[in-house]
């Protein structure tokens, strides 16, 4: 397999996925197979190909700097798990 289980745990942490110790090997196997596919792509000579940022060959249309949105705070707050005084509440985060 291409990864150490420790690396899988690191990737899971970055993605905020709560993997159990027992699941690491299975995920490792799956991710390694994906990596094998990427390895196959690596074999293609891409030296002369421009990196592609978007499949469509068109560019961004610039929007005018105008306020077009109205305040819909109450609707958005209504679908949040926890709110108070106009704020969304989350478990305490402190630096």
């Amino acid at each position: 397999m291409a990864f150490e289980n420790e690396q899988i745990a690191g990737i899971a942490r970055l993605a905020r996925l709560g993997l159990r110790e027992s699941e690491l090997t299975a995920y490792n196997r799956d991710l390694s197979r994906i990596l094998e596919m990427i390895e196959a792509i690596r074999g293609v000579d891409a030296a002369t190909i421009e990196p592609l940022a978007h499949p469509l060959e068109i560019s961004a249309r610039l929007r005018a700097d105008k306020i077009t949105e109205t305040d819909q705070r109450d609707k958005f707050l209504a679908i949040a798990p926890s709110t108070s005084a106009g704020y969304y509440l989350v478990p305490k985060v402190i630096e």
Binding site: R13, L14, R16, P51, A53, H54, L56, I58, S59, A60, R61, L62, R63, A64, D65, K66, I67, T68, E69, D71, Q72, R73, F76, L77, S82, S84, A85, G86, Y87, Y88, L89, V90, P91, K92, V93, I94, E95
Partner: protein
């Protein structure tokens, strides 16, 4: 290794909030100080099914900065997702630019403490969206999230590691601040977070050309804190290195209350943002004509204006620098000079002296100055044509500050016209000398070098008698001829 054998290497990442009305990728407003979350729309919240569209004005502002810094403007740039989890980042990623930023290269010049100039190269400046804000103390065991700022356009300006001291870093930050305000692309308000900076600091043995391990100190939101934080960080690293310890590459936070930096817990893991091009956004293409149009519309920049003040108005380098340092101040100065028949030196003195002192006393900016440039010019003209003395000018200035009256009206109503009638002044001089026979005698018996001080006494007496309206030079001349008869 002894102190002084380390070289400090600093690079800055300066975040400038752009002065657009709407957000970078949505039509929600960006105004500061609104009720929490009333300016965060579905796009800013990252709700499913929304599509970001780029604000053309933000693009134009980024190009303006790039042109002003002599940088390369990318004809083709790409937005990327910078992935990390934090409660004030609703999408789980920040839309930024990574491999192909809109602005690359360029540089700015800073002035060092000894007056020498130094070029600081820029690596890049890219467009990105700001995150929201967390409020930690208002809710029990919970943090409140206000997403009004989420999606506000920023440019992040990244300097090369060309800075060698905290002073240089602050000079660089100030220069960028001056520039963005000249360009009108940001209000630069540091209290409101419109202009803030992260500092990458490392030390290396003097003479070494490889970089030492750096730390990044985040969210420096004043010039003073930036200087203190960097000085603290230099000292902390030096102490570690001198006892042979290694520096840990980490993100640190400056605590102004304790004047120290400490590691940020949330950033303990090495940054791994997994950037990739944002599939929601098409590449940004700029044609050369658009860039040229923006270039033609650039205002005169601070360095050019400072040079012109030096050359055309004959001001000193320090005066030119100070007056050209802020666009509104420079505009005020030039308006005053134009209205005062080109009297630049007096205008500069009054603006940097009385006017700046009065503004500072009242905690006002030049934009809120109760005396406009034309009215100040009215005062300058009366001093120049010797209608009033400089001393009376201060009284007129104070009266102008408190009212809407023109200088001429105040001079007339208060009878402040300088006495130019030689006979009248001569009479006052004679009276003063007659009233002080002992001092007059002492003057006559004194050597030349002591007379200077003694004559000052007489001048003071005569000026008092004239209520400040006599021309001090004329009084001086008359006194000398009378006392030395």
């Amino acid at each position: 290794m002894r102190q002084g054998q380390w070289e400090t290497v600093i690079g800055l990442e300066i975040h400038v909030q752009l002065a657009t009305r709407s957000k970078l990728f949505s039509g929600a407003p960006t105004a500061f100080g609104a009720e929490p979350n009333v300016q965060a729309c579905a796009i800013d919240l990252g709700l499913p099914g929304v599509l970001p569209t780029i604000n053309g004005e933000a693009v134009k502002m980024a190009v303006k900065f790039g042109l002003a810094a002599g940088a390369t403007i990318a004809r083709h740039s790409v937005f990327a997702r910078k992935n990390y989890f934090y409660p004030d980042l609703p999408k789980g990623y920040q839309i930024s630019q990574y491999e192909l930023p809109i602005v690359s290269g360029g540089g700015i010049e800073i002035e060092l403490d000894d007056g020498a100039r130094k070029r600081i190269n820029l690596i890049r400046a890219h467009l990105e969206e700001d995150a929201g804000k967390s409020v930690h103390d208002a809710f029990q065991a919970m943090s409140g999230i206000d997403l009004n700022r989420a999606g506000t356009p920023l440019i992040e300006i990244v300097t090369a590691p060309d800075l060698r001291s905290a002073r240089e870093a602050v000079a660089c930050m100030r220069k960028v601040h001056t520039l963005i305000r000249y360009l009108g692309i940001s209000d630069g308000n540091m209290q409101e977070g419109s202009f803030r900076c992260d500092a990458n600091v490392s030390l290396r043995p003097a003479g070494s050309t490889t970089l030492g391990t750096r730390t990044e100190t985040k969210n420096l939101n004043s010039f003073r804190f930036t200087e203190l934080a960097i000085e603290h960080e230099i000292e902390r690293q030096r102490e570690l290195l001198e006892v042979g310890q290694a520096i840990t590459q980490e993100t640190r936070l400056y605590d102004p209350e304790r004047n120290e930096t400490r590691p940020m817990r949330s950033k303990e893991e090495a940054n791994d943002y997994r950037y990739f091009p944002d599939p929601d956004l098409l590449p940004l293409e700029l044609d050369p004509e658009t860039i040229e149009t923006i270039r033609r519309d650039l205002p005169e920049l601070p360095d050019a204006r400072c040079g012109r003040f030096l050359r055309d108005y004959g001001l000193s380098p320090a005066d030119s620098q100070q007056l050209a340092g802020a666009r509104e101040l420079a505009d005020y100065f030039e308006a005053a000079v134009a209205a005062a028949s080109g009297e630049a030196k007096l205008a500069a003195n009054w603006i940097m002296g009385e006017l700046t002192a009065a503004l500072n006393r009242n905690n006002l900016g030049i934009g809120q100055c109760p005396i406009d440039a034309a009215r100040l010019a009215g005062l300058i003209l009366r001093i120049r044509d010797r209608t009033i003395t400089g001393k009376a000018g201060k009284e007129v200035f104070d009266a102008m500050w408190e009212s809407d009256l023109e200088a001429d009206a105040i001079i007339e109503s208060r009878g402040l016209r300088q006495v130019t009638d030689t006979g009248e002044i001569a009479a006052m001089v004679a009276e003063t000398v007659a009233a002080n026979p002992a001092q007059a005698e002492q003057y006559r018996n004194s050597p030349a070098e002591k007379r200077v001080k003694l004559i000052g006494y007489f001048v003071g007496q005569v000026m008092k008698k004239s209520r400040g309206k006599a021309d001090p030079q004329q009084v001086n001349d008359l006194l000398r001829s009378l006392l030395e008869k």
